[in-house]
Amino acid sequence: MTMGVQEIEDAGLILNFGYNGADSHPIVQRRIIRARQKGAKIICVDPRVIESARIADIHLQLKGGTNLALVNALCNVIYTEGLMDEKFIREKTTDFDEFVEVIKKYTPEDVSPICRISPEDIRKAARLYATTKPAMILYGMGVCQFGQAVDVVKTLADMALMTGNFGKPATGIGPVRGQNNVQGACDMGALPNNYPGYQSITDDAVREKFEKAWGVPLSNKVGLPLTHVPRRVLRPEDPSKQIHAYYIFGEDPAQTDPDINEVREALEKCDLVILQDIFMNRAGQYADVVLPSTSWGEHEGVYSCCDRGFQRFHKMIEPPEGVKVDWQIISEISTAMGYPMHYNNTQEIWDEMRRLCPSFAGATYEKLEATGGVQWPCRSEDMSDKGTVYLHKGKFSNPDGKGRFYATDWRPPQELTDTEYPLILNTGREVGHYSARTMTGNCRLLRSLEDEPGWVQINPEDCLEYGLEHGDLVRLESRRGWCLSRVSCTDRTSPGAVFMTYQWWIGACNMLTNPNLDPVSNTPEYKYCSVRIECIEDQAWAENYVVTEYRRLRESMGIDVSGEEAAVQ
């Protein structure tokens, strides 16, 4: 995020685009609600009536998969109605003319039938965004999880650029990061193209710096994104580029990656699968080696929250006997492979990292403890460098210091609906559960609030057509797989579009999702694929199936289920 979470409540306007804070980050949503209370205008863009839509001044309930058409049209209105910040464009940006060439084709009238939003509503939203200051854009997975995602991010940045909403308090654009340390994993260079601190592996000077620090020559070849793994195991275009070993650390691709059947087949076929985790999970069932590690609460370190905030987390209890801290396990493997790595504590690791990353250099443990945390960039160890609340103050990070306009044409999602698979499936998060659910599913109260098989939200019109009632179990099918889920009859989703959360084993929507990737970010199109509903005549059978299958799965994860009552036959 270019802004700090605390700034959200000071915005004059929030464009809440493809972001459901209420379910993904309730404590960020709290700031949106506070902004509203303090008089901010809210524009919500989402195919569903999410919580932000309820409190919005304008809700653009667009058809799924039409984001870029809409953003281009919003830019079109701002341009044609002369609502730009001309001075900002002139002084702080480049490539505006090329941008205009593209967006001028996207008139509200042309885009209206694509997005299913009236031209007037598109105009109203564009005018409100362009004329209310300071304006902030918050976006989430509703932008990122499409085959065309990075283009939308860049065009949202265009909207902020053309209205001068950068480099000032409570402006900018904010991708609100999902998991607790997804920002941190990126910060630390767990990316195929960057060393820690967003330093490119193809930059010779940078690579030399890391080679010197680590004492070995390093590859300058960009690595493989995680979402390419299944195909590179099963169907490599070039056999010499096949993946033969997969070291999975603290995640469950066999639950959270798209097209689970393909992922599981890849894990079966891969010569060596290593799982390092705290709980057994679906991927672990395919692992050749399992390495048990300490959990949050049993070790310490630093997390990066969604707005670049480094914060210290602490050890609270002793780990169970027999497990090791993650970095120790990795160091021991490395040492056994002939590259000795030895650290006495996390601070030694952190200090080594800081020496190599200029923008993180000032974030010492002492400073993080004393201040509760700092937002990077934080370059000086001096206590007076308290980090950076918002980015791009004065200039942008491009070499010429200017913000660059970018525009391109909209393209539809890969798998469109047809007579065989007539419904759009959109997926997202469950508020009380987290990722693969191994943590929250083992928390009694969160488990009691929501448990298998999860819900599929279906519009009342569709329920009527299929003869479904709230609470019925249904079978959902796509070209890739099937799963069972429970009907939630709600007009918060549109006719023809259904919505599921991804945390469930029996109601696993990733059996259905399409692994079509954005060409730049390699993020899958979790938000759009086509499915069909098969009603289940014998509901008693289905209820029994859920109970017995759930018990079987838990047993396969090492839970003793012997004391549990048998399902009603």
């Binding site: 979470v5 605390q6 309730p26 404590i27 960020v28 997975m141 998991q179 607790n180 340390n181 997804v182 920002q183 941190g184 994993a185 990126c186 910060d187 630390m188 260079g189 195929p192 680590w214 070995v216 390093l218 590859s219 690595g223 993946i243 070993a245 999975i248 995640e251 010569d271 705290i278 692992a287 048990p292 949050w296 070790h299 370190g301 630093v302 990066s304 969604c306 987390f313 209890i317 169970p320 006997e321 027999g322 993650d326 990795i330 160091s331 493997i333 490395s334 590259y339 952190w350 508020v431 987290y434 943590m439 083992n442 969160l446 488990r447 609030l449 970010s521 993020t523 838990r554 839970i559």
Partner: protein, 143 residues
């Protein structure tokens, strides 16, 4: 004895500060209340308030992993508990073998976007780059 430890919620990117009460003798967390963090300002959601008892291994959904395990007889064989030395040498040996046979780019590694933290992510990417010799390092960023 109950001690108070302030830490960060392990769930979403909001990065909320929580004050935990820890029963040292029982080695258990007994309570969690919101702390005054920059982003959370003394508030928590349901995961922050009630999302910590997985640490006490209540055996609800999946079992806590407590021993290294290896499939000694190949993919079809069961996972068997082994000591750490054996597990580390098995992994190191197999990775070296694959690296020697197919090259370092035949190995894919991930870091976690979740509980392990930045230091573990740093060590993992360093391991993949400096020891294995590939930039095949990524994490579950896209979900």
């Amino acid at each position: 004895m109950t001690k108070q430890v302030e830490s960060i919620c392990p769930y979403c990117g909001a990065g909320c500060h929580i004050m935990f009460s820890v029963d040292e003798a029982a080695n258990k967390i007994v309570d969690a209340v919101p702390a005054k963090g920059r982003t959370n300002d003394g508030t928590l959601c349901l995961k922050g308030h009630y999302g910590w008892d997985f640490l006490n291994d209540p055996q609800i959904l999946t079992k806590r992993l407590r021993h290294p395990m290896i499939r000694k007889g190949g993919k079809e064989s069961p996972l068997e508990e082994v000591g750490w030395d054996e597990a580390i040498h098995f992994v190191a040996g197999r990775l070296t073998e694959i690296k020697n046979t197919y090259g370092p780019d035949a190995i894919m590694g991930t870091a976690s976007a979740r509980g392990p933290g930045n230091e573990a992510a740093y060590v993992m990417q360093k391991f993949m780059r400096a020891c294995v010799g590939t930039n095949n390092i990524d994490h579950c960023a896209r979900i």
